[in-house]
Symmetry: C2
Amino acid sequence: MIVDARQSGESARDYAYRILKENIISTELKPGSLVSENETAAKLGLSRTPVREAIYDLAKVSIIETIPQKGSYVALIDPKMVEEARFLRKVLDVAVIRLACQETPPEILEAMEDNIDLQEFYLSKSNAEKIYELDNEFHRLIYVAAHKEIICELKSNMLIHFDRVRSLSVETVRDMKIVADHSGMLAAIKEHDEEKAAALVEKHLSRYHFDEELIRGQFPEYFK
Amino acid sequence: MIVDARQSGESARDYAYRILKENIISTELKPGSLVSENETAAKLGLSRTPVREAIYDLAKVSIIETIPQKGSYVALIDPKMVEEARFLRKVLDVAVIRLACQETPPEILEAMEDNIDLQEFYLSKSNAEKIYELDNEFHRLIYVAAHKEIICELKSNMLIHFDRVRSLSVETVRDMKIVADHSGMLAAIKEHDEEKAAALVEKHLSRYHFDEELIRGQFPEYFK
DNA sequence: CTAGTAGTACTTGTCTACAAGTTCATTAAA
DNA sequence: TTTAATGAACTTGTAGACAAGTACTACTAG
């Protein structure tokens, strides 16, 4: 497990959650592997309690399976679960961008513009990790514009299933297109064009296609 | 706080979660009131650990607010949060019933029929509580038909905001209509009529209108 | 009488110990 | 050799103690 330092102001629970989530998405913690509360606590320099709470959070969206008195395991990749995550994202993203088209405060529009500028900057630097972060933040801004922050939070937990298979896919020229998609979405929001925005979101999400057969061929032992 | 007995097979955490949720929805635990981990643990005959976990779950959907070293409080009724819950329910219910219209296994259709029969039975007995349970179960069956069980679970957590204001509203002749709505939905699913089903869901949800001004007038101190 | 301070009684955050169950390897008996 | 029993080493579930911070009360000094 890759453990980077605890950020200042981060509670033990949040720290454990962040590290576990990162390691599950990157499959540094392999699907099916045991995540012991004690072992994790030792690695993070914490006690069991906050680690346990973080594991429980992850278990709530079925990305970790806890069997009483036996152990907590990173869930195998379950195409049904990936589909649930994809579905949730699509349905909510479309519904929320429609709201954002109706009204988005100028300061959010500015934040979106700044975000896209940064995306283009890191695109020129080929910094995929930064683009990933900015991508998430851009979509979160749409939820903020629609006053749906809690829903955004719920969605992001479920998205772990999605992000994990995404991290297993070899993607090359995708970043350029997604930055362009974001520009299009911002334009649609400014123009109050719901239909255009909704169509863009659908197209955008289709870029994160999950080629199950390909990944299953490469990592058959990761699948349910 | 009203505490009924722990069900067999129910973990301490689930028990604490269930009791807290019921008391928050019924406003037996009043908005703004303190929910002490120690006090709750004592009342339920548990230790702090499972109670703490339950409180944390509720805090994740902002129905409880925990202030470090100060206390955990039942959230005041926040119209924004009620709206987020209503929005989540509407968007997901519509999307999911569309899927169910495409294909629903016969055993689920049977379960839906049985459920509606029971609703009609309890309607004749004027048993509102049983109808409430069957209502929830009916909608859950739609999610099962669409293979979206986890999403249903996520939704139900958020719905606490919605159910709480619902429990504050005096509703009289609503039950008859909602049972009829359910029959209509089942028919639409059988006929694979997505548009009809979606329209019915929208109409159905409009019956749970939240008359903010009325409730605010009655319980101003419950509001944010 | 007022202002400030110390103390008390709470709160949550974290840690540690113990209870109870599972798994697996080792050992002894058939 | 095979099989069954036993115990050790794990796991999570729960409980309770301590740390640290907040709020309020009562007392003391001016």
